[in-house]
């Protein structure tokens, strides 16, 4: 019979050593814009446990997770999230709590609806503002687990993926099964399974952060245009003594401003250009001479400044989608 306490003690020692190694990098990361991390139960876990909602859109039925219902009914998942949050907090990355974030969003929606100025004015809220009122994080820890039976013994299989919310890349992963036991309660089995793989998971997460410092933050950038824009993206301009298409000019600008000139233009048309794997610096020098942390929005603002000058002389809207993605919509603000 497995002695769960001994395994836990051994695993804790490994974790403490990992914490020391990670701390050095955290000190540097503390000055930059730190990504937020949140544990989100996987779609398969929610839907297979009947925590789901049905929607019909354009005649197509869709099934999506109902996170609120899951949080209100599933003690095992809440326990798993608590354990994981404690482990990550020890490493200097306090997680955003999904359940609390959902409650905050509901409270915010009610307060926005109720708030009124002294002269009777109400808060202006466009459909896009409401659309953005969702629980967000830069790194999603997608968690799925299942309590299995092998004869009289119970054991846990789990799948933990660290996903970059913007690039959709898996930056860390841990999957496997915990040790079977006839006596341990499901929550103990779960804790043992998670802890036994967590140092490998954190190692990969750390590699991601190290790469971000060395090679720049990887973001996505999209250019779009409003109908009122005076030109489309196939228009030609005289830029730095050369006649180039608008899209090629943007490519040249990215080559100059990205870390090591690294970016990837994945798609383009007369109305949109999509860039992925755009490596932006973690810091830039502000007008006052200070090093300030930047994200995709600040990077896109620099592009907007370029487009406001001749030969383009066009205003743009910079639409922020968190730390790692921004849209530049050409034509108006």
């Amino acid at each position: 019979m497995l002695n769960i306490s001994e395994n836990l003690e051994s695993s804790m020692k490994k974790i403490i050593l990992s914490i020391a190694a990670i701390s050095l990098s955290l000190a540097a990361l503390a000055q930059a814009k730190k990504p937020t991390i949140m544990v989100v139960p996987s779609d398969v876990y929610c839907i297979s446990n009947s925590y789901s909602q049905q929607f019909v859109a354009n005649g197509v039925e869709q099934t999506l997770p109902d996170y609120k219902k899951m949080m209100q009914n599933d003690r095992n998942m809440r326990l798993a999230i608590t354990k994981l949050a404690a482990i990550m907090a020890d490493r200097g990355f306090p997680l955003k709590d999904l359940e609390q974030e959902l409650k905050n969003l509901e409270q915010e929606a009610a307060e926005v609806a109720a708030l009124q100025g002294k002269e009777g004015g109400e808060i202006v809220e466009s459909p896009i503002d409401k659309l953005k009122r969702t629980a967000k994080a830069d790194i999603i820890l997608d968690l799925d687990f299942n309590i299995q039976k092998r004869g009289p013994q119970n054991y846990v299989t789990f799948n933990l993926r660290g996903l970059d919310a913007y690039t959709a890349k898996q930056i860390a992963g841990a999957a496997g099964a915990g040790s079977p036991s006839t006596s341990a309660a499901p929550e103990l089995l779960l804790e043992e399974a998670v802890i036994s793989y967590i140092d490998e998971f954190n190692g990969r997460l750390q590699t991601f952060f190290d790469d971000m410092f060395k090679n720049g933050r990887e973001v996505k950038l999209q250019l779009k245009r409003f109908g009122s824009a005076a030109f489309d993206f196939e228009e030609e301009f005289d830029y730095n003594g050369e006649t180039m298409m608008f899209g090629d000019i943007i490519d040249a600008w990215l080559e100059k401003n990205c870390v090591q000139g690294r970016f990837n233009r994945v798609d383009g048309s007369s109305n949109m250009i999509k860039y992925e794997q755009v490596r932006i610096p973690m810091f830039k020098e502000s007008s006052s001479g200070r090093q300030t942390a930047i994200d995709a929005r600040i990077f896109a603002n620099d592009l907007r400044s370029l487009l406001r000058k001749p030969p383009f002389s066009v205003d743009c809207k910079v639409y922020q989608r968190g730390l790692g993605e921004a849209w530049v919509v050409v034509g108006e603000k």
């Binding site: 929607f55 019909v56 859109a57 999506l64 959902l102 459909p127 896009i128 409401k130 659309l131 969702t134």
Partner: protein
């Protein structure tokens, strides 16, 4: 004889003046009429009704009379719908709102028509539709032009066409 003729003429003139005066004093009345068949929820229907009544009142043609000769009918349809896989999920709808000022009798023709496109979001389709309908700005230049066009078309009709429809006789209706 002469006295009788002059009395008769005076009576006729007075009657004609009264009729014209009645027409001149009674403003054009446009009643908001919801379509018979609609997929909108009750709450959405009430919101549309309220907005359209505000629109007609703002433009000086508001009426709650069931026998109003002219009506404003809103036709709402969902053009596009999207669901976001977020926490919580959000549904986005794009509505087409067609407003028609029509003559209820006679030729039953449409006198003016305008189409608006509005978008809304919500936790489900019903909430998204309500949010979209709340975006309708009854003071917008488009709706003002539409109402002016409707009033102009009504003004071009013969005077008798603008009189209310006679109320139906309900004395023999069994309850």
């Amino acid at each position: 004889m002469k006295r009788a003729i002059s009395t008769l003429l005076s009576f006729i003139v007075a009657t004609v003046v009264c009729v014209f005066a009645a027409v001149a004093q009674d403003p054009v009345a446009v009643n908001v009429k919801m379509p018979e068949h609609t997929t909108l929820s009750y709450q959405a229907q009430q919101l549309v009704l309220k907005k359209m009544q505000q629109l007609t009142t703002l433009n000086g043609v508001g009426s709650h009379a069931d026998d109003a000769r002219f009506s404003l009918t809103p036709l709402v349809s969902i053009e596009e719908s999207n669901v976001t896989p977020t926490a919580p999920p959000r549904q986005l709808v794009k509505l087409s709102l067609v407003l028609i000022v029509a003559d209820n009798v006679g030729s039953k023709s449409s006198l003016a028509q305008v189409e608006l496109s509005v978008k809304g979001t919500g936790k489900n389709e019903e909430e998204a539709v309500l949010n979209a309908l709340q975006q309708v700005d009854i003071r917008s230049a488009t709706l003002k032009r539409f109402m002016e066009q409707g009033k102009k078309k009504i003004a071009e009709l013969p005077p008798a066409a603008k009189l209310p429809v006679a109320a139906p006789d309900t004395t023999d209706v069994e309850i």
